[in-house]
Symmetry: C2
Subunit: 318 residues, 2 copies
């Protein structure tokens, strides 16, 4: 099958082909660039929803319920699982922990886990491109699942139109975490397992902290009990509300512009980096200077300056 055929089948929603193309993206296959370029004109319709939170907050059960709720409304939903502990992920997919096997059989649902190894920049790029594949294939919602609070979350949040942070009562100092690392991330905060003690206090504390945000959209704090399917329909409604809010305020256009600008910049710098690395490797300078650094004949920044001078000799980047 050539790229044109692959693209046609993706646009028609063929699941096997979508799966194949995602594998190509995940493996950074060189044909991907051309496929993404061909799919690009058909993108821009999906709502991208990021969902993140520490281990043990019940994200997978929650996602299972969200999918069912969307499904009832006739929405097509794709899930990209980046969380390495997700039951959707890798080897665990056939394990006991899957409570959602029915979802795999549903024509309107697509669940896919992707690798978390390799350079972080690559992860963000792959996730963005897989999102584009689902978008072009006609999925209404693309849900990206990640774990924890870190740089990955911050950057995956940039890909999402709506970011949900899931917490539970009694799991470490949530408020501290939100303040320290993810204060600006959530558009919606979900307190799952809200039948546990301390849920109401946690909701109040979260509301106090989140009210300090300078964002115009004050992130609502919602209570859910995903095991009992409580609060899910509300959550789905608020996700839709956030989407409409952004459309009305013209925020989607702004977000999209920033995102496209950054993606383009990343494509450029990645490519130039590869070209520069080739130059450096051909020159043999890296090994030479590493030896000089080990023997302390030279110091790091001077070594860097000398190599760059050498590489850019007769070249005009400055």
């Amino acid at each position: 099958m050539d790229n044109n055929d692959l693209v046609k089948k993706v646009l028609s929603g063929d699941k096997k082909t979508i799966s194949k193309v995602i594998t190509l993206v995940d493996n950074r296959d060189p044909t991907v660039n051309n496929i993404i370029d061909k799919l690009y004109p058909y993108t821009g319709r999906s709502q991208v929803v990021g969902i993140t939170g520490p281990l043990g907050v019940g994200k997978s059960t929650l996602i299972g319920q969200m999918i069912k709720s969307w499904s009832k409304k006739g929405k097509k939903v794709a899930v990209i699982a980046i969380d390495p502990t997700s039951p959707f992920h890798g080897g665990a997919i056939l394990g006991d922990r899957i409570r959602m096997q029915d979802c795999f059989l549903d024509e309107n649902i697509f669940i896919r886990s992707i690798g978390t190894r390799g350079a972080y920049g690559g992860l963000s790029k792959s996730t963005d491109e897989i999102t584009k594949v689902f978008d072009a294939a006609g999925y209404d919602i693309v849900l990206i699942e990640t774990v924890g609070a870190g740089q990955v979350e911050v950057d995956i949040a940039k890909l999402a139109h709506t970011t949900i942070v899931v917490v539970v009562p009694g799991l470490g100092d949530v408020i501290q975490t939100i303040k320290a690392g993810m204060f600006e991330i959530p558009d919606i905060v979900v307190v799952n397992k809200s039948d546990l003690a301390g849920a109401d206090q946690l909701v109040m504390d979260l509301e106090t902290v989140l009210n300090l945000s300078h964002k115009k959209w004050k992130p609502p704090v919602l209570k859910t009990v995903s095991l009992k399917n409580e609060g899910i329909d509300d959550l789905i409604r608020v996700i839709e509300k956030h989407w409409n809010y952004q459309k009305e305020k013209g925020l989607l256009y702004e977000k999209e512009t920033n995102k496209i600008r950054e993606e383009l910049l990343n494509l450029i710098t990645d490519d130039l980096k590869t070209k520069i690395l080739n130059e450096i490797n051909k020159s043999g300078l890296l090994d030479l200077y590493t030896k000089k650094l080990i023997s302390k004949e030279i110091t790091p920044y001077i070594a860097k300056d000398e190599i760059i001078k050498e590489i850019l000799k007769n070249k005009n980047i400055s």
Copy 2:
């Protein structure tokens, strides 16, 4: 104080000056390059120990006990806290959660938290350079604390001679996490709170998984109860054993070479990236092509190629 004075005071172990230099590094102050170059010849003696693990495993109490144990042996210990939830971190330093205020008063102990915001690459670079500052200042151990399982951990582990992963019984699917994301990371695994139910089973499961590693050093699994100071002296002994093992096998030299090579490469590509970004910004091409992408007049990879072609016109990087 000029750079030469700063460097002299760091080398003499002056805590105020060390703190000042670390702030400069953390803020990426332009004078840092020269200071690091001047300190560089005095580096290479500290054992760098990374310690990581999810929220709620009691890392801070454990670190407190480790510091005490090292202190008894007359070792100088510096702690770099990158974990945003660490009680050593930022605003929390004066909070109730600090169980270790005595450590701050000890002449041989230095605890410092650094920012987790901004580009991840910057975090790794800052951590490495702060390690160099402590190393030059004569600290025997530099302990780097991070949280969770992600790319940050993988890269911080590259900075460490010995990496410790801390887990506890009953916190999610630890084995799955280790397999998925951090299988190659730990040199030592600590099961903390090992007086909880399930600890022995967890130790056995971990040993089974870790035995599948291809590394010659099979990561030992140690039990600790940090609140009762149990198992800490053992842990300190194994950390020293791993250090000696690497020295004997010539692994330290290999690790150092790889590390220096990679750091140098990062310095070069960062600098070139800055130079290229300047070129791109001067050209105004990014805005022009972002607009074309939004209106779908062009596709991402073609846009990238056209911009690079434009920027490299008459320049010989290829």
